[in-house]
């Protein structure tokens, strides 16, 4: 019984939040890794592209709500999502046409593309603040909980409860579907295979008749889909604020690098590693240990390794350790 209680506390405060956050990071990191693998540069505008995609979704959500269209128990934003992805694809392809294509044709060094993406980041940054302002927006509607703590306690009669929010459930389910679809696309379809070929060896791919502009276009389209989904899920689950999306850049890059840049599987693993590290290192283990350990061993202190203020420091630490000891990441991606 004691162990069960310990597990319930752990699930409520560590496992469920970390799995949700990990799914959001994984989707974001997949985008980073695809751009790095195929377009061969680190896209610093990634966090703010997420903000742009989410902004479009929020505007559409408001429009749907004003017309009285809702998704019942699910958030209206899910209905807006496909349309938001289409708009974001337009934005990213437009940006590529205006900015990145020029440097690609020049065969510019990756660092120049990175700097160009920094400029794009500032433009997106300003765009989102111009349209929605710098303030926080909550756009989740529908039912808040799949199961809430009081319901759980009433159902099971246990002293500790577990809450699963609708947005958490949606996040995990969506992430699984999106990842499965992506892997199917990359592994089974002709376009996916050509993208992988282009990523592995650009010259050979060109020789075998793959159209590079085509590959680039598909990459941006997939990335637009991934970031809009990641951004909307994060915004639904937490809240939307332009500055926090910009800050997400750090854990997302950390995830991609830890997993191995260019490796989709690595991006997913990296996302969960970062999320679980952030949550477990800053969590105070007192309550779990009090349940799990015999009474005489129960801790009197909080058993917290780092204050929650240092959440971002955890991403940094892992990043530094990985770069020092295994620069290609866990799944042997490209060296940074």
């Amino acid at each position: 019984m004691e162990i069960l209680n310990a597990f319930l506390v752990l699930a409520n405060f560590v496992l469920i939040p970390a799995i949700t956050y990990g799914s959001q990071l994984a989707l974001g990191a997949l985008g980073v890794t695809m751009i790095y693998g195929i377009l061969r540069f680190s896209n610093f505008a990634h966090g703010d592209s997420m903000a742009v995609g989410t902004m479009v979704a929020i505007l559409l959500t408001w429009w749907f709500q004003s017309m009285g269209i809702t998704a019942g128990p699910l958030p209206t934003a899910l209905l807006a999502l496909p349309f938001a992805i289409v708009v974001t694809i337009g934005v990213l392809l437009g940006t590529d046409r205006l900015v990145f294509r020029f440097y690609r044709r020049q065969k510019a060094k990756p660092i120049i593309l990175v700097m160009a993406s920094l400029g794009v980041m500032f433009v997106y940054n300003g765009l989102v603040r111009f349209v929605l302002g710098p303030d926080e927006h909550r756009f989740a509607d529908g039912d808040r909980f799949i199961i809430s703590v009081p319901d759980f306690k009433a159902l099971t009669g246990l002293p500790e409860g577990v809450a699963i929010r609708t947005t958490q459930g949606i996040t995990v389910i969506t992430a699984v579907i999106v990842v499965a679809a992506l892997f199917w696309f990359l592994g089974r379809t002709r376009t996916g295979k050509s993208m992988r070929a282009y990523s592995d060896n650009e010259d050979l791919a060109l020789l075998s008749g793959i159209n590079p502009e085509r590959v680039v276009m598909y990459t941006w389209m997939i990335v637009a889909g991934l970031i809009t989904i990641a951004g909307v899920l994060y915004g639904l689950d937490k809240s939307f604020k332009p500055f926090t999306y910009f800050q997400l850049l750090l854990p997302i890059f950390a995830s991609a690098i830890v997993g191995g840049l260019g490796s989709p599987l690595g991006a997913i693993a990296g996302g969960f590693i970062i999320a679980f590290s952030e949550v477990t290192i800053t969590y105070a283990w007192k309550r779990v240990l009090t349940y799990a350990l015999p009474d005489e061993l129960a801790p009197s202190g909080l058993v917290q390794l780092l204050s929650t203020d240092y959440k971002f420091a955890v991403s940094f630490m892992i990043l530094v350790i990985v770069l020092l000891f295994r620069p290609t990441g866990i799944f042997r991606g490209k060296s940074v």
Partner: protein
Amino acid sequence: MKKLIATTAATALFAGAAHAEEIKIGVLLGFTGPIESTVAHMAPAAHLAIKEVSDSGLLLDGATVVGVDGDTTCIDSSAATAAAERLITSDRVKGIVGGDCSGVTGAVLNNVAVPNGVVMISPSATSPALSHKNNEDEGLFFRTAPSDARQGVVMAEILMEEGIEEVAVTYTNNDYGKGLADSFEASFKEMGGTVTMSAAHEDGKADYSAEVSSLASAGGERLVVAGYVDQGGAGIVRSALDSGAFETFHFPDGMMSNALVENFGDEINGSTGQHPSPTEELVERFSEVAEASGGDWDPTTPFTPESYDAAALILLAMQAAGSSDPSDYKEKIMDVANAPGEEIQAGELAKGLEILADGGEIDYVGGTGVELIDPGEAAGLFRQVLIKDGENTTVQFR
């Protein structure tokens, strides 16, 4: 410096000797700067008290009183010091209503008021750093607004009376939050309570689940949220409710607004809180007095009745001491503000002056129910709030 004090004293002496003198009172507030919109109501309130006394003709055998404005800018200490310097040395004010913001008030007090021996009563500086426990201010500084440290004590009292003995505390990571959390923790422990954890939170984050997880692990019957209702404080409450970490909360003034019940409503039933606020009768009476004066300012603006009270206290203390010399009347300020004596409401300053002239005692109530505690600051009236059926309800004033 000695010379300066001697000169000031001599001037005061000469002035005191003359009949029907003209007494000048400095009104040193932030007429420009970040709180200029509030000062637009505070300053007229101070002038109203001055005019009321002057018009009565009862102060010190018919002395007239004039208010002289000085600008603190709220943030620029050198500008505030210069303004105070001018008020004291060139206008020769006998007392100062001000300053307003805590930083400039401390600068003016240390650099100008104490060296020159002039009384300052601030209507709005609330920093605990301004409590001069060891008489560093030479008994010259008072305030009609309660120190933030006082709220910590009141908060601990409320929770103790509710029978809550174990709480977790989270505060917004700035001077306000930290000061309040520290003073609460100190007094709560003194009363025998336990603070399981006192953790800061940053405002403006999207997600507070990590903070709440730690607080939940530390445990406690109630979560004290010393934050802002339109910032991280609301995020903490949302996350604590969602994860079932805490069911009831305690909210200090930064959280106490309509936005709280609008956001959370029934979900936070049973939670408690407090914020500084005069009772309704006091507010009503002060509004009537303000209206009768025909001014176009809003008497319900924060710190506005405090400004009226600050000016009134200076003048009543002068009457009690029979002198407009700050070194004489500074001793009397606590006497006129506190019991025993006849209660003097806002708008009854003439009555107070009369009683004092006849050698009687008064207990000045004024616009905020002034009660000064050591070292010369308002105990403050706090409205104790209970959230019931998704509504803010008043339990009592303390």
